[in-house]
């Protein structure tokens, strides 16, 4: 293709239309048509797009502006998808994880946000959705979604994490996302719950609020009134667009720093009471069984956690300079520091934290590192603003045993072999 063909093609509206359609069966024009498919099919040996040659995609116009009314990632990024749970017989009550190793910065795109559903993902017409607030309030009220959107709004960046991320018996996964990808972070927009509660008028004896979803599980959790008045939100948007169906469209409650399932999606009811409801999801589930056979209840707080996301499991590194980077967060507030060990925990160095460090949000950390090519183990360890230090798995196991299932916030060691291959240092015996 001659370099002049770009100009020629832009002048010809007919040809432009052919290009946009990616049609190959258009007689004489076919030689000019090079759809994405055709380009990808060309031999990859292709030094023809590398210097000193001019790459193919500069020799003809690209796709029309707006050819994708809702934009999607490049087709070359198709492998960046959520991790699906395989060891399950049904996907109605199941989960998918964020590929944390492929996330840059602290914001997880909506399409990669982790999922945990208990009765599938309902398709809700927002015009047919209502939020009822009743119980110990002066004015029991039914709100439309538009009513909630009329309240003074707020946007905040917070992480959300499933309490079983991962269970104490499932620490052997290959990638960072498979291990602790039941955590994501994004910008949420909605009305502070406090504003709405003050508007319906809380009675003095109000101590708990039971939140219920409009899914097939009618998932129900009790939330302490203090948390509802502190920083809970009625959320309708994430990362600038309306909530995705999998994140509770058209309305969810957000209780920052508390375990994921309390952030009830498809929120339809807030029942204000003087005691918790002791629903199945806070008795049979989401209680932490200890070695002595007792179980901890109302274990809301997601304690400080960090993980190195690059290099991490399945990556391969070269000797010389390697940036170590990862994510840290804590339900108790802000990350104060992240230490990284490149010698299996013998010595630790402070990583650099990406500003701004936000409350109850992912915090990106980085450490410049030169790998000498010798086998080693790298680990990160976060300390939060309360002084709490992320424990090792052994420390957690000594106190809680392996049956607890939830709130495993151990440090994650990655083993680096002489070949540069990175693997999970926890290996199933």
């Amino acid at each position: 293709m001659k370099s002049g063909s770009r100009v020629e093609a832009t002048r010809s509206s007919t040809r432009r239309q052919f290009l946009a359609a990616g049609s190959l069966a258009v007689g004489g024009a076919a030689a000019l048509v090079a759809s994405g498919e055709a380009l990808a099919a060309e031999p990859a040996a292709g030094a023809e797009n590398l210097p000193p040659n001019v790459p193919e995609w500069m020799k003809q116009p690209g796709a029309d502006t707006g050819s994708e009314p809702y934009g999607l990632p490049s087709k070359f990024e198709k492998s960046i998808v959520r991790v699906l749970k395989k060891d399950t017989e049904q996907q109605t009550s199941s989960q998918s994880q964020t590929p944390l190793q492929d996330i840059d910065g602290i914001i997880v795109p909506n399409g990669l946000f982790y999922e945990r559903h208990h009765g599938g993902i309902p398709e809700i017409d927002p015009a047919q959705h209502r939020l009822m607030i009743h119980g110990l309030v002066e004015r029991p009220t039914v709100f439309t979604v538009d009513d909630i959107k009329r309240y003074p709004s707020e946007s905040r960046i917070h992480f959300l994490e499933c309490s079983g991320n991962p269970p104490y018996t499932k620490i052997y996964a290959k990638t960072a996302g498979e291990l602790v990808g039941l955590a994501s972070c994004c910008e949420w927009t909605g009305a502070p719950l406090k504003t709405v509660l003050e508007d319906v008028g809380l009675k003095p004896e109000a101590k708990w609020i039971i939140a219920e979803g409009a899914d097939a599980a009618a998932l129900t959790r009790s939330i302490p009134i203090e948390k509802c008045l502190e920083d809970a939100m009625l959320v309708y948007s994430q990362n600038g667009e309306r909530l995705r169906p999998a994140q509770g469209y058209p309305l969810r409650i957000l209780v920052p720093g508390y375990e994921g399932n309390m952030n009830v999606k498809w929120l339809r009811r807030l029942h204000v009471t003087n005691e918790p409801i002791y629903s199945r999801e806070e008795t049979s589930r989401y209680t932490d069984l200890m070695p002595d056979g007792t179980a901890r209840k109302f274990t809301f707080m997601m304690e400080a956690k960090s993980i190195i996301t690059r290099p991490s499991g399945t990556h391969k590194i070269q000797p010389g300079f390697n940036e170590i980077t990862g994510l840290a967060w804590t339900g108790r507030g802000k990350v104060a520091k992240v230490d990284v060990s490149t010698d299996g925990g013998k010595t630790w160095q402070a990583a650099k934290l990406q500003e701004p460090v936000l409350t109850r949000a992912f915090t990106r950390f980085r450490l410049a590192w030169t790998w000498d090519g010798k086998p080693t183990t790298i680990i990160s360890r976060v300390t939060d603003e309360t002084g709490y230090v992320q424990p090792s798995f052994e420390q957690l196991k000594d106190v809680r045993g392996l049956n607890g299932q939830y709130h495993n916030n151990a440090t994650w060691p990655w083993k680096i072999a002489e070949t540069g291959e990175v693997t999970n240092a926890h290996v199933k015996a």
């Binding site: 029991p140 009329r150 409801i277 002791y278 056979g293 420390q395």
Partner: protein, 179 residues
Amino acid sequence: MPMSRLSLVGAAIVLVCTTTLVYGQSKFGFGKKATDAEIAGWSIDVDRDGKYLPPGHGTVSQGRELFQNQCAACHGEKGEGGIGDKLVGGKGTLATAKPVKTVGSYWPYAPTLFDYIRRAMPLNAPESLTNDEVYALSGYILNMNGIVPADAAMDAKSLSAVKMPNRDGFVDDPRPDVP
């Protein structure tokens, strides 16, 4: 044309009336009053003491038949589990290396059984069972766990009176506990 004093007064009266029509003393005045009927239709929470349990009743034997039709495909003929949770057994296993958490071994409150079955079961058709059916199923699952006798009938009073074996098995969150 300037508005007459009279029509100004009239406008003020209209304004006052409109304001007082807004529900209660709400600052923003959004939403509408939830009627008793609306609340009754939606409020399905059952607390641990069973004081929100609805009228109705069902027997263990009715529950046995319902269970085979509505539950056994996922939970097994005898509640031994399958696609769905194991519902029976596990007594004495909670402090072992392989704990088996079931209604019988783990659940602290019987009214929660009614609450959960009514709101979420069966998985493919939640909220399709009548209250009588939910009482019957609750009774049968308790019976399979040896907690109520085979001739038991369940209603708000009898289900609330059931003392679950693991009722006292739960403790408050002691964290931070490590390190």
